[in-house]
C-alpha cells in the first residue's frame, strides 16, 4: 500500500526528469505520451492504494511512511514522509485521474507547438508537486508541495513566454501565492514554537486550546495560504489572469486540482480550525462572499475562459463555505465533482478555441451547436452539472453544502441565502455562455473558420507565429495560440478524454446522495468528522430551492441570450463595476504597487544613483584621472628612464651613507 503510493508520487517526477534529460532525443509527441503514461501509472497506483486501504479496518486506515530524515536541527526533525489515509487517497485519485485525462487531452491540444517537451515536463512536474502536497506526511512536506505547485503554476501560466500578458499573469499569480505561502510559514513557526513538531499527529494531538491568540493566529495563517491558493477574496485577482496559460493548464491547475488545494488544507488541518471557530466562520464567510462576487463578475465577462475561471472561483467559494462550517465530506465531494465538470467545461472550451483558431471572445462566436455537435453536448453536460440540475454531478454535491449551512443560527442562514443566490447566478452566467457560444446563427467569423475548414487551418497555423510580435494586431486575434488548427472537433486524444469527463459529470454525482447513501462522507469520516449533519427536510428544502433558483437563472439566460425576449439590463454603473472586477486590481495597484514603485523610484534617486552608482563611477573616474597623470611620466625617452634610475640610485646611496 505504501509502496504503491510512493510509485504514485514519484512516477510523474521521473517522467518530468526523463523529458528534461532526454531533450531532443525524445520526439515531441513521445514526450506527451511519456507524461501521459506516467500520470496514468500514478492513477493505477492510486487505485491500488485505494483498494488496499479499503481492505483495512476503519481505524487502521492511516499509514505514515518515512524514507529518511529530511531536515533536522536540534530536537526538531522532519522526515521525508508521506501519509496514506482516506483523505489523501481521495485527493490522489482526483489528481491523477483527472490529471491523466487532461495530460492525454494536451497531446492533441498542444500538437505542433514549438515547445511541447517543455510543456509536458512542466505538466508532469505539476502532477508530482500536487501529489506531494496531498500526500505530505507533515506540514513541512505539505508546504514544499504547496510551493512547488505554485512554481509549476507560474511556469505553465507563463508557458507562452513571448506574450507579455502571459508573463505578467504568471508573475501576478506567483506573488499572490507567495503571500499565502508566507502566512502559512508564519503559522508553522508558531506551531513549531508551541508544539515542537510539524507532524500531523503530534500537532493535532497537542493541547493548544487554552491559548486563544495562538490558535487564532495559526488558523488565520493557514487560512491565508488557503485563500491565496484557492483564489478567494481578497486574494482572488490572479485566477482570471491565469487564463493566459494553455487551456489544458487552466483545466488541470486552475480548475480541477491546484486551486482546490486550499479546501484540502482546511480539511486536513481541521483540528486546528476547530479550535478557532471565529476563523472557521471567516472562512465560510469568505467563501460565500467570493461565490456571489465571482458569479456577478462572470455575468459580464466576454472571454470564454474567464467566464469559466470566475465560475471556478465561485464553486471553490462553495467548498470554502462547506469547509468553514465543518461539512468536510460535502466540501470534498463537491471538490471531486467540480474537478469533473469544470475540467470538462475547460476542455470543451479548448475544443471551441481550437476550432476557431485561438479566438476566445464569446461575442464573436455563436451558432456552434450544429458545427460542433459533440462539443455542444459535452458543454451542456458540464453546464448542467455546474448549475446543479439533477441528475448531473453538481446537484448532489452543491445542494448538500447548502443544506449543511442551515440550522447553524443566523450566520448559517445568511450563508445559505448567499449560496442560493449563487446558484441563481451560476445558472445565469453558465447558460449565457452556452447560449452565446452555441445558439443562434453562426457569425461570419465562425463560418469562415468552420465551414471553409481546410484552407483556414493552414493559414491560421502560420498566423500565430507572427501574432506575438505584432502589437498592432487587434486584441482578439492576438489570442491566437501556438497550436495547429484541427478541422472539426479535434483529434481522438481530445474528444475521447472529453467524453470520459462528460460521463463522469453525468454519473459521478451518484457516489453520494445526501440522506440516502453517503459513501464519500463515510470514507472521510475517520480523518475529518463533519461538525454538522443536515436533517432530511433541510436537504429537501435546499435541493428544491437550489434547483429552482438554478433553473430560474437558466430561464432568464434563455430569455435574454437565446430567444431575445428581453434586453439584458444595461445598468451602466453596475456593468462598469463588474467589468472592472469590483476594482480590486485597481485598489491593489493603489495600495501596494504604486507605493512600492514610488518607493523604488525614491530609493533610486536618493540612494542608488548618488551612492551606489555614484561610488562606482567615482572610483572609475578617479582611477582614470590618476592614470592620466601617471602616463605623463612615460615619455618614451630612454634618457628620462635612465635619469630616474640614476637619480633614485643616488638618493639611495645618500640615504644609505647618511643613515649609517
Amino acid at each position: 500500500m505504501v509502496v504503491a503510493s510512493w510509485i504514485c508520487l514519484l512516477a510523474p517526477l521521473a517522467a518530468a526528469l526523463a523529458i528534461t534529460v532526454l531533450g531532443e532525443r525524445i520526439s515531441r509527441r513521445g514526450a506527451g505520451y511519456l507524461a501521459t503514461a506516467s500520470v496514468v501509472g500514478s492513477f493505477a497506483a492510486s487505485v491500488v492504494t485505494f483498494a488496499l486501504l479499503t481492505g483495512q479496518a476503519r481505524e487502521d486506515r492511516v499509514r505514515y511512511s518515512t524514507v529518511w530524515d529530511w531536515l533536522g536541527t536540534g530536537t526538531l526533525h522532519f522526515g521525508l514522509r508521506i501519509l496514506v489515509d482516506p483523505l489523501s487517497v481521495m485527493m490522489m485519485l482526483i489528481v491523477t485521474g483527472v490529471g491523466a485525462l487532461i495530460v492525454g487531452y494536451s497531446v492533441g491540444y498542444m500538437d505542433g507547438d514549438e515547445e511541447e517537451r517543455r510543456y509536458f515536463a512542466y505538466m508532469a512536474l505539476f502532477v508530482f508537486s500536487m501529489l506531494l502536497l496531498v500526500q505530505g506526511g507533515n506540514l513541512l512536506i505539505l508546504l514544499a508541495g504547496w510551493g512547488l505547485v505554485g512554481l509549476s503554476s507560474y511556469l505553465l501560466i507563463g508557458f507562452w513566454q513571448d506574450r507579455p500578458s502571459a508573463i505578467a499573469a504568471a508573475k501576478k499569480a506567483f506573488v499572490m501565492n507567495a503571500f499565502g505561502d508566507a502566512t502559512m510559514a508564519l503559522a508553522f513557526f508558531l506551531l513549531i514554537q508551541h508544539t515542537g513538531s510539524l507532524d500531523f499527529e503530534r500537532v493535532f494531538a497537542s493541547d493548544l486550546s487554552g491559548n486563544h491568540w495562538l490558535v487564532n493566529l495559526v488558523a488565520l495563517g493557514l487560512l491565508g495560504g488557503a485563500v491565496a491558493k484557492s483564489a478567494q477574496l481578497p486574494l482572488q485577482t490572479w485566477l482570471p489572469d491565469a487564463m493566459e496559460g494553455p487551456t489544458p493548464v487552466s483545466a488541470l491547475i486552475h480548475a480541477a486540482t491546484m486551486v482546490t488545494a486550499g479546501v484540502y488544507l482546511i480539511v486536513r488541518t481541521h483540528p486546528l480550525f476547530e479550535l478557532a471557530p471565529k476563523v472557521q466562520d471567516l472562512a465560510a464567510g469568505l467563501g460565500a462572499a467570493t461565490l456571489v462576487m465571482a458569479g456577478l463578475i462572470a455575468l459580464v465577462q466576454t472571454d470564454i475562459k474567464r467566464v469559466i475561471a470566475y465560475s471556478t472561483m465561485s464553486q471553490i467559494g462553495y467548498m470554502f463555505l462547506a469547509a468553514g462550517i465543518g461539512a468536510y465530506g460535502n466540501g470534498m465531494f463537491h471538490l471531486m465533482t467540480h474537478a469533473f465538470f469544470k475540467a470538462l467545461l475547460f476542455m470543451a472550451a479548448g475544443i471551441v478555441i481550437h476550432a476557431l483558431a485561438g479566438e476566445q471572445d464569446i461575442r464573436r462566436m455563436g451558432g456552434l451547436r450544429r458545427l460542433l455537435p459533440k462539443t455542444y453536448l459535452a458543454t451542456l453536460v458540464g453546464a448542467l452539472a455546474l448549475v446543479g440540475v439533477p441528475p448531473f454531478a453538481g446537484f448532489f454535491s452543491k445542494d448538500s453544502i447548502l443544506a449543511a449551512a442551515l440550522g447553524r443560527g443566523w450566520y448559517g442562514d445568511i450563508l445559505w441565502g448567499l449560496g442560493l443566490l449563487g446558484t441563481f447566478l451560476t445558472g445565469l452566467y453558465t447558460f449565457r455562455l452556452v447560449f452565446l457560444v452555441f445558439e443562434g446563427r453562426p457569425s461570419a467569423f465562425v463560418l469562415e473558420h468552420l465551414t471553409a475548414g481546410s484552407h483556414a487551418g493552414g493559414q491560421e497555423g502560420h498566423r500565430h507565429e507572427l501574432a506575438p510580435n505584432e502589437p498592432g494586431d487587434e486584441p482578439a486575434s492576438t489570442h491566437a495560440h501556438p497550436a495547429h488548427v484541427h478541422v472539426g472537433e479535434g483529434p481522438f486524444s481530445m474528444t475521447s478524454t472529453v467524453a470520459v469527463l462528460a460521463l463522469l459529470s453525468l454519473v459521478g454525482g451518484f457516489l453520494q446522495f445526501a440522506g440516502l447513501w453517503t459513501p464519500v462522507s463515510d470514507w472521510l469520516d475517520p480523518v475529518a468528522r463533519p461538525l454538522v449533519d443536515a436533517t432530511g427536510w433541510q436537504e429537501t428544502a435546499s435541493s428544491v430551492l437550489a434547483v429552482a433558483f438554478g433553473l430560474f437563472g437558466v430561464f432568464i439566460a434563455w430569455g435574454i441570450y437565446s430567444r431575445k425576449l428581453m434586453e439584458a439590463p444595461s445598468a451602466p454603473r453596475l456593468r462598469a463595476l463588474l467589468e472592472n472586477k469590483l476594482y480590486f486590481d485597481r485598489a491593489y495597484d493603489l495600495a501596494f504597487y504604486n507605493p512600492a514603485v514610488a518607493l523604488a523610484r525614491g530609493w533610486n534617486v536618493l540612494i542608488e544613483r548618488p551612492l551606489v552608482a555614484g561610488s562606482i563611477t567615482g572610483v572609475a573616474g578617479g582611477s582614470r584621472r590618476l592614470a592620466g597623470r601617471v602616463t605623463a611620466a612615460q615619455t618614451g625617452l630612454v634618457r628620462t628612464y635612465v635619469f630616474a634610475l640614476a637619480a633614485s640610485l643616488a638618493v639611495l646611496i645618500v640615504v644609505f651613507v647618511s643613515v649609517r
Binding site: 612615460q634 615619455t635 618614451g636 625617452l637 630612454v638
Partner: protein, 102 residues
C-alpha cells in the same frame, strides 16, 4: 702580493661607472649607449673583484664571471636590435625613438 690599496680600485671603479652613466644619459646613438652600459658593467666588475681580493673571498670573482656572461648576452641582443633598426631604416637616435610614450 702587494698592490695599490683597495680604495684606489674602488675610485677607478667609481670613475668608470660615472663615465658610463654620463654616456648613457648624454649620448644619443644606441650603439654608444650600449658601449657606455658595458663600461658601467665593467666598473661594477672591477669593484667586485677588488673587494673580493681585499677580503680574500672568491665569491666576488665568481659573481664577476656571471656578470661578464650577462654582459656578453646583453651585447648580443643589443647589437642585434641595433642592426635590426638599421636594416629597417629607423633613425638611430634614442631621442626620436619614442613609440612607447604613454
Amino acid at each position: 702580493m702587494k698592490g695599490p690599496d683597495v680604495a684606489w680600485y674602488l675610485a677607478v671603479s667609481g670613475f668608470l661607472f660615472g663615465t658610463g652613466t654620463l654616456g648613457v644619459l648624454l649620448r644619443r646613438s644606441p650603439l654608444i649607449i650600449l658601449l657606455s652600459l658595458e663600461i658601467m658593467l665593467n666598473a661594477a666588475n672591477l669593484a667586485l673583484i677588488a673587494v673580493s681580493r681585499h677580503y680574500g673571498h672568491a665569491d666576488g670573482q665568481i659573481f664577476a664571471l656571471a656578470v661578464m656572461a650577462v654582459a656578453a648576452s646583453e651585447v648580443v641582443v643589443g647589437l642585434g636590435l641595433i642592426v635590426a633598426m638599421a636594416r629597417r631604416d629607423l633613425v638611430l637616435d634614442v631621442d626620436r625613438l619614442t613609440t612607447l610614450r604613454g
